[in-house]
Symmetry: C2
Subunit: 393 residues, 2 copies
DNA sequence: TGCTATTAGTTCGCGCCACGAACTAAACCA
DNA sequence: TGGTTTAGTTCGTGGCGCGAACTAATAGCA
């Protein structure tokens, strides 16, 4: 139950009913395609006549296409409806400290083009590098009219000023990414934190999304990010910085963090932490990458295995906090660490079980890295504007 | 932006627009009363004609009454509309480990009758004690037709079975409170965790509610409870146990908690913790109550002051976690501790400032205990069924 | 080959509802 | 007393969902 926000509400007009039912039908087609009008009526509870009018509208607006005929044991054959996945193209940009990937996707979330570039240290330089590639992607498939650009990044964006306000792993302070990209491409740009993007990817493209009213997406990379989905909605906070559980204190009087705090979770459970555990206090001439440690561990290197185990333990410590405090249905773990899930998964699960309430029935699930959750999330960011629940009252 | 839950949605009918606008008008009257039809039209954006029809409906259903005439510098005088606060009565029950209070309230949240009884150790006995008092309250004011009973308790209620599943400070395991009360009184009963109830009280009766899209209600008593309001909505989790931040680990290898975990926040920042800090390791013959400690501290007793300071420090430690992780607009502190806020407030604020992100702009606010937030929350629990946003799509 | 049962999809009149223009009511002011 | 202004009502119009009736198409069967 929500209270109506009297500072920002939406009254119903005579067209509101249509808006609502249209969205419902569009979403039913998206998730049940191919589907007939009669089945839509059965699934939605609307009359067949109403469904007919709505689908006709969706077809003339090219959101839906009419395909082959179906088969039923008796009676007239149904005409199948499909989502027109070629209706719009969406550009996604995934910024990570070292590398940025970008892609053009259709409504399915299928990437029709993909490329990457090194992330420049200077944000102005980065934008200069990025713009020609965006313009190129935009023109690449003329049949897909580009609708917008979604951007995920390892930091937080202020919701009112749309400027980067917190990105300790990306030294761009208080920078405006949105305006220059919008000006150069002529497309609307949506910025979102990487963990939030992963959460959106799971909501809109995941297989578990229907069951998950509450979910935490946990990105484990250079740092740790958490994206919160509670009551089926992304929690961003009124300023946009909600979800920084990676910077909660987990070790009293611990190491100093770039965020200004001490003993932050991400200092003990991120990829960088594992590297530190591996190299020890003395800095070796050539520091191994996290990929190196994963490879070494899978080859049986004891020091690497121990570093990962320690990282897994601390992941469990933080996840236990999330399980106790939020009792989500799913905690989605995203990152290179999932490649060795058979090793680290049990440690995480055990640590969580020891430290959290048994009443919370949370599944901890690794994501398949090939699904590109960060990039897919940026697509979802634009997609949800057409498929999300209409705002009323 | 919310995704439409295709397992549980609501299509729009021809009456949906009216439902929505009716709720909006009702809420506008509630928060702006006395208000004229013309002003309602201006505030809502609806046409004056539409407002007239809706208000007429609300008047015939006795939700709204027409009062005196207003005054405008020029033109015809407006006819003021008021919420009919005598329309329904709501019974609230606040269960605490030692004492249970109950009250009959009108739509204003004003208590027209109030009483209390000791909480029996045995839940069956407790219900037997409670029922005659409820029946008495129900008949007390014949002009108020009783609509329902709201119950707040220091524990968690499973959302599907409606049974108590987690109440470490109230030794009632897996008990069904709802059915016997509903049978005996013939009224619908709503159960809710005390911290959640306080959050609801603030949403529906607080003065800061409009500004707070995200809020955490923190009940500090025998234990510590947190009620989460994110995106203007209570977060309960799919099972009902979301919000147990009081049982997150805050001291590594700390004291054992009744919940089965070790080092839980509530062991270090609750009233019970302060009592332990005061008495020290050796148990004194007569253990002081938390009220005693508060009194001693206000009289300048050094040991009491130090016990409260330590408690305040740990409150700050936990609140810092909430601020970093959720970045709420407001953290509402409820409990006896707020009586000495001038002493403990600064300690809490300082600890939080040292340990949390500066980007989160969270106000930490003590509540006035005379407002009875737990009890008021139970009223809100029933009230929101008539005033909450209608569910569509 | 035609008849029947069954299912898909369309047509159309009805009632609900918000809109907005026109109208009435009631006040103040010069 | 008549003009101006604001409050509130009346009524015709169009959007929309409902549901009954209708057309279309298919399989089974005699």
């Amino acid at each position: 139950m929500r209270k109506i926000d009297l500072t920002n509400f939406q009254v119903a007009t005579s067209e509101t009913a249509r808006h609502i039912n249209r969205r419902i039908v569009l979403n039913l087609i998206r998730s049940h395609q191919p589907i007939s009008r009669a089945d839509l009526a059965r699934h939605s509870g609307l009359q067949r006549s109403t469904v007919s009018v709505i689908t006709e509208q969706l077809i003339t607006e090219r959101w839906v296409t009419e395909g082959a005929n179906g088969h039923v044991p008796r009676g007239r054959r149904p005409r199948f409806l499909h989502l027109n996945k070629e209706r719009v193209g969406i550009i996604g940009v995934n910024i990570r400290p070292a590398m940025t990937t970008l892609a053009l996707a259709n409504l399915d979330g299928h990437f029709v083009a993909q490329e990457s570039l090194p992330t420049a240290k200077d944000p102005a330089q980065f934008i200069e590098d990025l713009i020609p590639r965006l313009q190129n992607l935009k023109k690449m498939r003329p049949e897909l009219t580009c609708e917008g650009i979604g951007v995920s990044l390892p930091g937080r964006v202020d919701l009112t000023s749309q400027r980067l306000v917190f990105a300790p792993n990306l030294d761009w302070q208080d920078f405006d990414l949105k305006s220059p990209l919008e000006e150069a491409t002529g497309l609307p740009v949506e910025l979102e934190n990487a963990a939030n993007a992963c959460a959106l990817a799971e909501i809109w493209f995941g297989r578990r999304s229907e069951s998950a009213q509450d979910m935490v997406a946990l990105t484990v990379a250079e740092g740790i990010g958490t994206g919160l989905v509670l009551n089926h909605q992304l929690v961003r906070g009124s300023t946009g910085v909600a979800g920084e559980f990676g910077h909660t204190t987990i070790v009293e009087n611990g190491l100093e963090c770039r965020c200004g705090n001490k003993g932050c979770w991400e200092l003990y459970a991120s990829n960088s932490a594992a590297i530190r555990y591996y190299t020890g206090s003395k800095p070796t001439p050539q520091t191994p990458s996290f990929d190196d440690i994963l490879r070494l561990a899978s080859q049986g290197d004891l020091k690497a295995v121990e570093a990962l185990n320690k990282m897994a333990h601390y992941l469990g410590v933080g996840i236990a906090m999330l399980v106790t405090g939020l009792a989500p249905d799913i905690i989605l773990v995203i990152g290179e660490i999932t490649r060795l899930w058979s090793q680290v998964g049990p440690i995480i699960t055990r640590t969580v079980a020891e430290r959290s309430l048994t009443h919370a029935n949370t599944r901890i699930v690794p994501t398949d890295p090939v699904s590109h959750p960060r990039l897919l999330g940026t697509i979802a960011l634009v997609l949800q504007q057409h498929f999300g629940a209409p705002s009323v009252a």
